[in-house]
Amino acid sequence: MNTDILIEFAINVLSMGSLYALIAMGLCFVFGICRLINFAHGEFITVSAYTLYYLGTFTNIPWPFVFLLVVIVGLVVGYLSELIAYRPFRGRSLDALLVTSFAISIILQRLFQLGISPRSRAVPVPAYFNMNVTLFGVITPLRNLLLVGTTVILLVVVMLIMKYTPLGIAMRGASEDFVTARLMGVPANLVISVAFIISGLLAGVVAVFWSARTGSVEPLMGATPLLIGFISIVIGGMHSLPGSVVGGYVYALIANLLSLTLPSTLLSFRDAIMFVIVISFLILKPEGLLRGSYQEERVG
């Protein structure tokens, strides 16, 4: 294998992995604290992507502010969904929450389909996103580097918050044992709201880079990132934030490796092979690659 292909492969894995890591982390924040797979997370991304479409197409707001607004919309949607749809059901069983998250997902999808259009819309991004740069002799769009850079910054910021701020410590405590953390005086509403807010914020960032890659936004676009995020946290470890990040990169590595090496007749089975790997993970290493501190309450 020549070096060009290898470098290109590394760039692809790093950039796709960064995107997947951000998605997985968004899911994992909510899962860590509420034990809830938020099926509406994909729609958080879609809402932000539509914001990008509207602001980018119909206004002259400078791009940095557009991105900021997109992220803010993601954050607000995350917070509002917690406030309106999850908080009232929190005392109930997890099943109720799960159903609620499906309901939000479906309501939002229908809103987009009937209120905006079932057809996809082209999303504008600044020209420098698609500008090519040469890195170690390999041509790649600049947005891949921007994505990796943004992800690194976000990971560092999140790590610092989680490690050193009282809020981060409270969240880590809550994700380990929510009942005890509450008994210790950790405010439940605050911690959960913040988890959703961060999750929404990450969804906003993902929306920018996801739609910059696909070039369009459509009502059902959230399904693919949701699935990728879910698989990533299964691989990485459902209870561990670093695990979800690792899971995202591992997913990108396996997916890229498979697409590069599978013969074309088997290429359409790539996802099937991915699922076989995930199922093997669930059987052989149910806690994922990185073991979170929380171990009981396993299903099955």
Partner: protein, 400 residues
Amino acid sequence: MKRKGLTILAAMLVVLMAFTAFGCRRKSDDPKGGNGDKIIIGGAMSMTGIQAPLDSPAMEGIEVAIAELNEKGGIDGKLLEFRNMDSKSDSATASEVAKQLVDQGAVAIITSSDYDFGGPAARAAQEAGIVGISSNASSPLFGSTMLGDLQFTLSMWNTTMGAVIAEKAYVEDGLHSAYVITDDFIDYTKSLSRYFVECFTKLGGKVLREDIFSQGKVDTAALIAHYKALPEKPDFIYISSYMPDLGTIIKEMRTAGIDSPVYGGDAYDDPALFELLGPEFGNDIIWDSHTFSSKEAVPKFEEYNAAYKKMFNREVDAPWSMSGYDVMMVLAEAIKAVGTDGAKMAKYMEDHTFELLTGTLDWSDAASGHEPNKAAAVIKLVKGKPEFIKWAIPDYLPAP
């Protein structure tokens, strides 16, 4: 806490129901008269789900046709009503809503624009003894062989769509080697690629490699790597897919500096694709489709566009709306001539040639599958704007 939760759940249910109701309510105006005074055309088309992008423009075309027909007094003094129930891009729902529409007195069913999603509604129509027709299903499975002797599609089959573009590439443009990318999500994309490859290789063309992916899960990095690893640079790339992945593939390939011409089928006919590619990447992209939004291609385009604009307050943006209009006009012509009996309508449709917005159409008889004999419009994207090249009928048609 408990009550609050219930209240909110109830509120969410109401919102959901409101949307569902909104989904079912989109039918033409019904000024007066009960069931006896109007002719109901059922629609089992998708307003939601993955099929909605194709069906919603077709439904708009149907609405334009209905308004035009009713303005002229309907058929034999009876007004027409188009009653659509959302088939939600789900085959079981499609069958279910078609049965409901039959119960409500529909005299024909217009199905979703795809064999996988629309076929079940056509089967329900066949069972009820009425005509079922799709505006844009182009799979050769959509016809009387698979669905029954009262079932039709207005679209050219993929046999024509694949053959026309193979001849355009090989004979007219002199391109002899291709890299083929096939989306295996639905029968449309799979069979289109198959017929294209069959015609292209029959002409003497060489397929250097065929890659397969599934809509929603495209891995452009892999496709680009495969393209670059080909033993020789292909003369062009044939992609059988649809939006949004279609746009992603072309954009990413162009961004990576791949400038080979791209050829494809009617799914390219999407304003979102043109906008996404823009003047920079929107060049050397050629496809064939049902029709084209210009006077040059469609003599009556301006009248249609005016009527469409009056109703929807914007210009025609997808050719599929014209197919929707045509479907309604064909049904209306058949009903006017022979009444609402399913078998008589089907016979009339088999026996006559129709002059439509989407060209001249002549169906073969039920024994040979109701094959739609129709020309394809060949279109080229220049600086992000579609340009009409010609109407084409292929010299060789592969067997369905």
